[in-house]
């Protein structure tokens, strides 16, 4: 077992080294694919943390995408802050906003929570498109990112992707993770045993908001242009849901496999832009009907194989 784990560790290190060295041997197209993969991975891993481990189905993650992106634009363009500081501020703004809405939003459960978060995001979208300071619906250019090289953005995105996986891995092995899994298995029993359900869930909500906001900042380094209708659009969450469902909700590996498939499907279907979302939607429904636990969940169930197990052996 020890041998297997050390082999696994070496495998992870090798893959990481390969990805870090990517800009020195691969074409720009492949670098772009890995960049998109990493960003999707980070975002959907955060949705997975909410939906898969905390039972919070949020349809409003785009609120933090928008806040993170606008924070980057406003702080770096209007105030001339360094880009990296602006991205971190984007994460901070997202956490603060999540804290602000957590009081009303945590009074809602299940479906109410889903629609409540979505409504919050829609409210932000309307506010931003009516707000003169951020240029109404016209949007903002993140001009300072022109100074960054493509490779810098790549390394940042890769870092974000790896960090998100590591964060969820270590989070789930901490006291918080044990509490979360206890809640998932039996909510009432875990509460009587002293798990503070509200605090556990709030913690996850804040962490996922902060990381989503910061990753969104990195993403807008790549997109350069931000506009309220797309930044606060439900499409972001649709993407996270697809990736997590297909890969396997409630598994750490799920979003990795999901993002991999998503990026390739997306590239492959980009020749048929009209039908790409149509096909993705059908695949997602098919996945829920046939393998509700997604690829990784089904593999775990059938073969007992886990690559990154949150359990302590």
């Amino acid at each position: 077992m020890e041998l297997l784990r050390s082999r696994r560790f070496i495998g992870i290190i090798l893959i990481l080294l390969g990805l870090i060295a990517l800009p020195y041997w691969a074409s720009r197209y492949w670098i772009l694919l890995v960049l998109l993969f990493s960003l999707n991975l980070a975002l959907s891993q955060m949705w997975n943390l909410l939906a898969g481990y905390s039972g919070l189905i949020s349809l409003g993650q785009q609120a933090f995408i928008g806040l993170g992106g606008y924070a980057l634009a406003v702080f770096s363009v209007y105030y001339g802050f360094p880009i990296w500081l602006s991205i971190i501020l984007g994460g901070t703004v997202s956490v603060l906003f999540a804290l602000l809405i957590s009081a009303p939003i945590f009074r809602m459960r299940g479906v109410y929570f889903a629609i409540g978060t979505w409504t919050v995001a829609e409210t932000l979208r309307i506010l931003f498109s009516n707000w003169k300071y951020v240029g109404y619906g016209m949007g903002l250019f993140v001009k300072p990112t022109y100074a960054l090289s493509f490779n810098t953005i790549y390394f940042t995105a890769l870092g974000a992707g790896v960090a998100s996986v590591a964060l969820v891995y270590f989070l789930l092995r901490s006291k918080l993770g044990l509490g979360l899994m206890a809640i998932r298995d039996e909510e009432t029993a875990s509460e009587t045993l002293g798990v503070d359900i509200f605090r556990c869930k709030l913690c996850c909500f804040l962490i996922s908001a902060g990381v989503t906001g910061a990753v969104s900042g990195v993403m807008y380094l790549h997109h350069i242009f931000i506009q309220p209708y797309s930044a606060f659009g439900i499409d972001w969450t649709v993407q996270m849901v697809f990736i997590t469902i297909i890969g396997g909700i409630g598994t750490i590996e799920g979003p990795i496999i999901g993002s991999f498939l998503y990026v390739f499907l997306h590239q492959w279907l980009s020749e048929y832009p009209n039908v790409s979302l149509l096909i993705l939607g059908s695949i997602a429904i098919g996945a829920i009907l046939i393998a509700p636990k997604g690829i990784m969940g089904t593999v775990q169930e059938k073969l007992g194989f886990e690559f990154l197990s949150p359990r302590r052996k």
């Binding site: 189905i57 919050v120 829609e122 009516n130 909700i249 009209n274 979302l277 429904i285 509700p292």
Partner: protein, 291 residues
């Protein structure tokens, strides 16, 4: 004070009439929420699908949009029945998330299907009703189409209420929603009943879609906007009563039009969302919920 009220007369009337339309948009979502206990995230897209179906019917037969309901309601009811029977019934009873996500996938599929077939252009169901206004007394003009929306909604809700209280099917649906196990023991096939309920709900979505198409322009992607309105209506009105849903619609419509009147047109939707969030926070079961 009097002049202030006088000035508000038009927005209040318009808000209430618009609220009638919102009521009919919300009623299908409310039914499925109450009976099948799932949120049909595709409801808004089904409404817009009905608008497009009406548009197609009008190109074949040059008739008024209201008359296309003869075609659109059965087609939509059939679509609803099939969707529930073949897709949603298979994921019921497997927790909250699978039905939610299947409906979400359906919503994406519908939007992109409409986009593919009808292009992203703005459409509207043209009719002479859309542009006429009628004057009530000498001081108040209201758009005729708003009045038509309100009356059609009221009639639909009255008919639905009769259906649920008088017919066997209506009673069976209520039984299945009250206690699935007991209803099955009484010889009711609850899964088929759910499919019929969904058929009726998409039938109301058909009416809502035609009214929406007559009143506003629509695009393939307007569905989610109406889903949130429908959800607002359900939340504000509370589950379990048709009348509550209708009143919820009136409150939401009033809030939006008054918001637009005081803050500017850009804030019309915002005021609706704020009302929704306030009710969700302080009384998540809705203002008019039974029990």
């Amino acid at each position: 004070m009097l002049s202030f009220l006088n000035e508000l007369k038009a927005p209040i009337t318009n808000g209430l009439l618009l609220g009638g339309l919102y009521g009919i948009i919300g009623i299908g979502l409310s039914m499925i929420f109450g009976i099948v206990r799932m949120v049909n995230l595709a409801h808004g897209d089904l409404v817009i699908l009905a608008s497009y179906l009406s548009l197609v019917t009008m190109t074949f037969f040059p008739i008024s949009p209201l008359l296309t309901l003869i075609v659109v309601i059965p087609v939509m009811a059939l679509i609803g029945f099939i969707v529930q029977y073949c897709l949603l019934n298979r994921v019921l009873g497997k927790g909250m998330n699978p039905p939610l996500l299947v409906a979400f996938g359906l919503s994406i599929i519908l939007q992109n299907l409409l986009l593919l077939v009808f292009t992203p252009d703005a459409r509207t169901l043209m009719t002479s009703i859309s542009v006429k206004t009628i004057s009530l007394g000498s001081f108040l003009n209201i758009p005729l189409v708003y009045l038509v929306d309100f009356i059609v909604s009221l009639i639909t809700i009255a008919l639905l209420s009769r259906f649920f209280n008088r017919t066997y099917m209506g009673k069976a649906i209520r039984a299945a929603s009250d206690d699935e196990g007991a209803a099955q023991l009484m010889g009711i096939n609850t899964r088929t009943i759910y499919s019929f309920a969904m058929g009726i709900a998409t039938g109301t979505a058909a009416i809502a879609g035609v009214l929406v198409g007559m009143t506003f322009t629509f695009y393939p992607h307007t569905g989610p906007e109406y889903l949130i309105i429908a959800f607002g209506v359900v939340i504000v009105g509370g589950l379990g009563s048709l009348l509550g849903t209708f009143l919820g619609g009136l409150i939401l419509g009033l809030a939006q039009i008054l918001g637009a009147h005081f803050l500017g047109a850009g804030f019309q939707l915002l005021c609706g969302y704020l009302i929704l969030l306030i009710v969700l926070t302080f009384k998540p079961t809705g203002l008019f919920a039974k029990g």
